[in-house]
Amino acid sequence: MTATAATLKAQRAAHPSKQGTTKVKLGASDYVLRGISYLVVSVFTLFCLLPFVLIISASFSSEAAIMRDGFGLWPKEFSTEAYQFIFRFPRMIIGSYVVTILMTVFGTLIGLFVIAMTGFALQRRDFPYRNHISFFIYFTTLFSAGLAPTYLWVTQVLHLGGTYMAVFLQLLMTPWLIILMKNFARSVPFEIVESGKLDGAGDFRIFLQLVLPMLKPALATVGLFLALGYWNEWYLSSLYLGSAVEFKPLQYYLYNVVNTANALKNSVAGANVTITQLPSNTLKMATAVVATGPIILLYPFVQKYFVTGLTVGAVKG
């Protein structure tokens, strides 16, 4: 990731002009390439979209039709049976939603604040030891304790096993996001800091009132990656939460519904049916749609920051 941005920056600096400014007569090979390009890009785009269509269609099919004909691209015998099951006994999924939303909102806000503060301080050239602190943070990406020592540490020393905190705290920040923020903060002119100092403002006030408003695009980008981390989290939950909590984070909830028959049944606890009477195929697909839905709806609005994260990217720590 890091090399990427450096490369891009160097190349942009070398060739600021963009191509395609003049009209030159196109040869036959140009038209062939262009034709192939439209075709391949279209096919690849469809290929990316297809699995989503499969899942949504399946969720709106009747279980009987799926059992008979299998999954397909179009809904088979259109039915909202699976959604009715979910929303008639919505206790579990609502609980998961509440847990995930709370974690995402507070995790993103707190993480963003700490990351912004750190990124701002670490690029201040009048801050002694900034390079040492940067390396202290960066080193964790080079060498880390494996999963086993971390697991022992978190459960037996910090005693966080079975608590939401085990998940919430570990997702608060990553070295990469701090470096990303640091690079964004570098674009804030040092004169801003100096003018603040002349006015007698302390470092924290300079950060909060002068620098933070200038970092809005950075906050959006880093915030997006943090929020995505919380929303898509299932891994730490599977390690530290297991079945210790009643309401699992959304993706871990989905993971269980898909992979264990028991969780599938519990997901509609209250429905007086046996596991064989459940529309298990369509129920899994509908749960996937419900668990993914909101993030896909938000996607068009945040996509631009998603790209910034890669292209502005991180230069070396």
Binding site: L33, V41, F71, R125, T150, L152, L172, M173, F204, V307
Partner: protein, 320 residues
């Protein structure tokens, strides 16, 4: 380790040299602002490091990490003799090689083609859709695989049966999974990964294309002699950094596709999934720590080596 380049680059404005203590006191607020992050990494990244000692013990819960009997290198000996370490290393590296080679080829091809697209709206929409797979949780990938591949109701088997063929038991064919895993990995990351190459193509000096067109160069010559050479530095740097991470696997992808399906392990078990299982289903902290330590050390050496090569080629791109 931080480079002198950075040091000189960021040398502050010419101020009077004061003692370090007073300079630190001056910057106390900045230090306090860094404190939450420092504490975070101290607690969650550095805290577990001493626990790696478990790799040299016969760990038991009662005696704890430093009370359990010391056994030296016995655990590593066992892992090597049983062939497990070799199998995991081979799988992890081979998968990464496939991801790197196929991933880069597809990303470059896609970037070149995206650059040919002139309809603005078409480009915008298709790019947005291509990034979408990278955006979703890996659990959903497991759901997609179930939808496509399960024996009774899977979409592919449904198609096969409609065409008069026999359904395939994907989840018990060992040899087919490397292909499936690689396809899913490419599906998820090709679109997003192409951004880097696309941006590099956008950065090529336009006058080169004009000159080529005036000389009557064909589209293929344009790709061969202008675009591909321009992408070479980006490619080499990305390649070297990918090589540095070649011992690390994409746990989420493998786990959500394979899970506990032991029949598929010979071709699908990587270091991460094996360690996870040792902890979660066997409570075996000794072996899992040993494997993890081996992975960390090997990986660290690789990153150092690759960074050294990058630095020799172009110090600007080096990580440190």
């Amino acid at each position: 380790m931080a480079t002198q380049a950075i040091m000189t680059d960021l040398e502050g404005p010419p101020t009077r040299r004061r003692s370090l203590g007073s300079r630190l006191y001056q910057a106390r607020m900045l230090l306090i602002m860094c404190l939450p992050a420092i504490i975070f990494f101290l607690v969650f990244s550095y805290g577990p490091l001493p626990g790696s000692y478990v790799a040299f013990t016969n760990y038991n819960y009662r005696d704890g990490i430093f009370g359990s009997p010391f056994v030296g290198l016995k655990n590593f000996e066992f892992l090597i003799k049983s062939g497990q370490l070799w199998l995991l290393t081979r799988n992890t590296i081979l998968y990464n090689v496939a991801f790197i080679v196929l991933g880069n080829i597809l990303q470059i091809a896609l970037a070149i083609m995206l650059n040919e697209i002139r309809l603005k709206y078409f480009k915008k929409v298709s790019q947005a859709i291509m990034f979408l797979p990278y955006f979703i949780s890996v659990v959903l990938i497991g759901v997609i695989a179930f939808n496509l591949l399960n024996y009774d109701t899977g979409a592919i088997n449904a198609l096969l049966q409609q065409a008069g063929g026999d359904p395939i038991k994907f989840y018990s064919i060992v040899g087919i999974w490397p292909v499936i895993i690689i396809l899913f990995q490419l599906w998820q990351s090709t679109g997003y990964g192409s951004i880097v190459y696309f941006a590099a193509i956008m950065g090529i000096d336009g006058s080169m294309f004009e000159a080529a067109a005036v000389d009557g160069a064909s589209a293929w010559q344009r790709i061969r002699y202008i675009i591909l050479p321009s992408l070479k530095p980006t490619f080499i740097i990305l390649l070297l950094f990918a090589l540095g991470g070649i011992m690390r696997g994409n746990f989420g992808l493998f786990w959500n596709l394979i899970g506990n399906n032991a029949a598929l392990f010979p071709t699908t078990d990587i270091i991460e999934t094996s360690v996870y299982r040792m902890i979660m289903s066997q409570n075996n902290f000794t072996m899992s720590t040993a494997v993890g330590l081996y992975q960390s050390l090997f990986g660290f050496a690789l990153v150092m080596l690759c960074n050294w090569i990058v630095r020799r080629m172009n110090p600007d791109y080096a990580l440190f």
